[in-house]
């Protein structure tokens, strides 16, 4: 396909559309030339291939294929426990998956390779296309092909007006319709719809902006979780988090200085119907202050409505119950009093956890001991259903406790879960029958430990809420890129780029012959319609002349559409 576009006399035949149609888009041409030998030749060939439409297409296909396994195989980024389960169930397959990075597809080497290649290809595509487009803007629409009647939309008539007169009128008309138009030889050449190309380039550039913003966010992001019991508080420093993840370039100093306090948590649930127990609202009443000495302000955080402080967002992500427990030693001295957060096991918030009394406790003989209790909690206990709660709200709370004494193993230096007991150095409290002592308590009730070991009391129930604090830098850029992408795309897909030529020459019999033709990038019904409207207007300025006696008529073409009158 030739790149020179102003050749007014292209060769006849179907190729004569070539010059006229060329550069109607700035899409790269596909070349399959075998490279001339030499490193540079091959490098250039490789670059051409990489930035060709065909390879871009294949890379896009690969990208969509490559994204599939990540949706079917558990991913360590989203659900670590599922991955562990999968590894346990399929050890050999798990190893293979590990080698292929299939447990973290979206950060695996091969997935990154696909999208990096795609984006290199994209950049290699955008830059030359931009230059080419700038060139087109500075140049002029290509001249009329010799045989206009070969074009997808065509019309002609004979007029008594002078050819120059017709051309001048056509030029004025096209300019008025906001075509870029000029006179070359015996014809007017015009083009419109450059915004399509602008939109297309904007869209592809916006994709790059989005990718960079996304990558930036990954490098500098942070995400931390903090469980807070009603009445408790938090200030935004690294040590206060229960768990914390951050991008590789995140710096501790980037944490926004703020603190907050959980006053109250409220959850409401469907009371009846088939979805009984389904959560209706979750909300946390908090007081927060910004900076070291900021004024405390009250607000409510809901599931879909995070609190924004600086660049950080505070989300409410989970909740549960925290029974307030008091432990006394044999003398009746209080050695422990705290709200103990328990982890929900099911949607009715059947919960479990442990109480650890680390120090301050002495047994009946006055010896230092540590105590541990396994706690099992049902917010709504229905007799007959001993193992699970029947409703998520606090209807009829029951706390089941079983105690141990000895060494909790917390001083061994090995990190321990606060929700589990290491029983290797613990002995169970036994009841009179020699079985493990276990008791259901209601709020206010006490379980007395055997042999004067003291007692444990379930005082009342508080609720806890888990807050996730995140910072995602670059999300503003990603959003801007996304908006630009949508508008660019709309421009690229809805705007037609098209050309119109008007030729007026004196025929052999001295009467002027006007020919008009239109060409769009994709054959749209709009091109002939527009041409018809233009022809109709021009016809009024250069009215028809009578036909010569004989006319070489063709069989009627079934696809003739009548020219539209403008404004009707």
């Amino acid at each position: 396909m030739s790149k020179t576009t102003t050749d007014p006399t292209p060769p006849a035949g179907d190729e004569d559309l070539g010059a006229a149609a060329s550069q109607l888009s700035t899409a790269p041409e596909d070349t399959l030339n075998v490279p001339s030998l030499g490193v540079i030749g091959w490098a250039r060939w490789f670059w051409r291939q990489l930035t060709s439409m065909r390879v871009a297409l294949l890379l896009l296909l690969l990208l969509s294929l490559g994204a599939i396994p990540g949706s079917l195989i558990p991913q360590s980024g989203t659900d670590e426990t599922k991955v562990a389960q999968f590894r346990k169930d399929n050890p050999t397959l798990g190893d293979v998956y590990d080698k292929l990075g299939l447990f973290h597809v979206y950060s695996s080497v091969w997935f990154s390779a696909i999208y990096i290649l795609l984006f290199v290809s994209l950049i290699g595509c955008i830059i030359p296309r931009t230059w080419q487009f700038v060139g087109q803007l500075r140049g002029r629409p290509p001249g009329a092909p010799k045989r206009l009647n070969r074009l997808p939309a065509y019309t002609t008539w004979r007029t008594e007006a002078e050819p120059e007169q017709v051309r001048t009128a056509a030029l004025a008309l096209l300019k008025k319709r906001r075509f870029r138009a000029h006179l070359t030889g015996d014809a007017v050449a015009a083009e419109k719809g450059y915004l399509r190309e602008v939109g297309n380039l904007a869209f592809h550039i916006a994709l790059i902006v989005m990718l960079i913003a996304f990558a930036w966010g990954q490098l500098f992001k942070m995400e931390g979780n903090k469980l807070i019991v009603e009445g408790g508080g938090f200030s935004n420093t690294l040590t206060q988090y229960d768990d914390f993840k951050s991008g590789s370039l995140f710096n501790q100093d980037d944490l926004d200085p703020f603190s907050f306090h959980l006053n109250d948590f409220q959850g409401t649930y469907e009371k009846s119907g088939p979805n009984r127990g389904t959560a209706r609202t979750f909300q946390a009443d908090i007081s927060y202050s910004v900076g070291a000495y900021g004024k405390a302000r009250k607000t409510i955080v809901k599931v879909n409505e995070p609190l924004e402080i600086g660049d950080s967002k505070v989300y409410l992500t989970a909740h549960g119950y925290a029974p307030v427990i008091t432990v006394r030693d044999g003398k009746g001295e209080v050695v422990y009093r705290d709200a103990v957060p328990l982890l929900p096991l099911d949607s009715n918030i059947t919960s479990s956890g442990v109480v650890k009394v680390m120090d301050g406790y002495r047994d009946a003989k006055g010896e230092r001991q540590q105590l541990g209790f396994e706690a099992f909690f049902l917010p709504t206990y229905t007799p007959g259903n001993e193992v699970s709660s029947t409703f998520p709200a606090l209807g009829n709370p029951v706390l089941n406790l079983a105690g141990y004494y000895g060494d909790l193993g917390v001083d061994a230096g090995v990190p321990q879960s606060v929700y589990q007991l290491d029983k290797s150095h613990l002995k169970a409290f036994k009841d009179s029958k020699g079985e493990q002592q276990r008791k259901n308590l209601r709020p206010g009730q006490t379980m007395t430990l055997p042999n004067g070991a003291g007692s444990i009391t379930y005082e009342s129930t508080k609720e806890w809420a888990n807050f996730q604090v995140t910072r995602q830098p670059g999300s503003g850029w990603a959003l801007a890129g996304a908006v630009a992408a949508i508008f660019g795309l709309a421009g690229s897909l809805f705007i037609q780029r098209r050309r119109v030529w008007v030729r007026a020459v004196r025929g052999d019999d001295g009467v002027t012959v006007v020919e008009m033709a239109g060409l769009g990038r994709s054959e749209s019904a709009k091109v002939p319609e527009e041409l018809g409207a233009l022809a109709d207007t021009l016809y009024d300025q250069a009215p028809g002349a009578p036909d010569p006696d004989e006319d070489s008529t063709e069989t009627p073409n079934p696809q003739v559409v009548p020219a539209e009158r403008p404004g009707k």
Partner: protein, 365 residues
């Protein structure tokens, strides 16, 4: 009236509305079934007429067709001057084939049944729409909180898209039979397998982004669906035309059936326009979803299965649009990509909800 009594009354009203909705959906199914038979009758009557425009265009006088087309004029008429007429011709390398006349094939009785079918479709659409609205009123929220609701809303919107195109005088009546068949299937699955008694949403689904994200997702799906139907028919018609152009003789049924459809190039163009027109909206849908996820879960993009498949669908449609601009990929190959992309959309809806668990779970499947 006590508060408890008021809630009871409200619950009773809602129950009443939910029952009304179910009745309306069943009635819509009945009317769609009548429409289905009317479309079938149209096709059957249409087979009586013998049309062979495609065959004529592709076999006879091809040399003549290649000659430059000239504006039609009446020889010797000097009194009345006609205004110029625009001659349209296919671009180089494309078959110049006229569109078929539609399912009725020019047969008058067939056309009558076709019109009846369209009227019945309008009626069924209105009933179904009322059913969807009653459902929404009974749950006091948007009607897409579970798969049953999604299905009834989806088919309503798909029929709405079809009727809108008809109202815009687009040549789409040929699609009626295929569309209504699948709408009946969709509703059948909805009322038997997917039915869930009406209820409200879990808190994570409470957000105005939900309205934006899901409503555009449904609309995009409906339009993609219309595009896919046209793409499949394009593939059939295209092989029919190639066979004729290559001198082959297609079977009688294929001839009768395919002659009545628009030309393959028209079908291809139609599906391109339809797909291209909603692609920006689909892009918007994904972005709206990301914003919602940012509010609900604290991250904009987490490669949740539903998000991943929305992305895959998006990339697949981008592939299709690229293919249309890539030498060697236009035509059938691009059409296969379009179908693949629609397959991704379908999988994202049914497959991911049923086979893969993620954060986008709906109550009661």
């Amino acid at each position: 009236m006590t508060l408890a009594a008021a809630t009871d009354l409200a619950a009773a009203t809602n129950e009443h509305l939910a029952n009304l909705s179910n009745t309306l959906i069943y009635s819509a199914m009945a009317v769609y079934t009548l429409a289905f038979f009317a479309y079938i009758t149209e096709w059957i009557f249409g087979s009586r007429s013998k049309i062979g425009r495609t065959a004529a265009a592709l076999t006879a006088g091809s040399a003549e067709r290649k000659a430059p087309a000239v504006t039609v004029k009446k020889g010797g008429s000097t009194a009345v001057l006609e205004r110029p007429q625009v001659v349209v011709r296919a671009a180089a390398g494309q078959r110049d084939v006229p569109d078929g006349p539609g399912a009725h094939g020019g047969d008058e009785q067939g056309d009558l049944y076709g019109r009846i079918a369209v009227s019945l479709t309008v009626l069924a659409f209105l009933i179904e729409l009322a059913g969807v609205i009653a459902r929404a009123a009974s749950v006091e929220r948007a009607p897409w909180g579970n798969m049953y609701e999604f299905n009834i809303t989806f088919s309503t919107v798909a029929v709405g898209v079809y009727l809108s195109l008809l109202a815009l005088k687009k040549n789409v009546r040929w699609m009626g039979l295929f569309l209504i068949t699948s709408v009946l299937l969709d509703l059948g699955i909805a009322v038997t397998v997917l039915y869930t008694a009406s209820d409200q949403l879990v808190p994570a689904l409470h957000s105005y982004w939900l309205y934006i994200h899901v409503s555009t997702a449904i609309l995009c799906g409906a339009v993609f669906y219309v595009g896919a139907v046209s793409t499949i028919l394009y593939l059939f018609k295209d092989s029919y035309e190639s066979k004729l152009a290559g001198g082959g003789k297609p079977g009688k049924f294929a001839t009768s059936f395919l002659e009545r459809l628009p030309a393959s190039s028209s079908l291809d163009k139609f599906s391109y326009r339809v797909n291209a027109a909603v692609f920006p909206l689909w892009t918007f849908t994904i972005i709206a979803g990301a914003i919602w996820a940012g509010d609900a879960w604290g991250r904009y993009w987490g490669w949740d299965p539903k998000e991943t498949w929305a992305f895959i669908t998006w990339v697949a449609y981008a592939c299709y649009l690229h293919a249309r601009a890539t030498a060697g990929w236009k035509g059938r190959k691009a059409a296969y990509l379009a179908l693949l992309a629609f397959g991704c959309w379908l999988f994202n809806y049914y497959g991911v909800n049923i086979f893969v668990s993620g954060k986008h779970s709906y109550a009661g499947v």
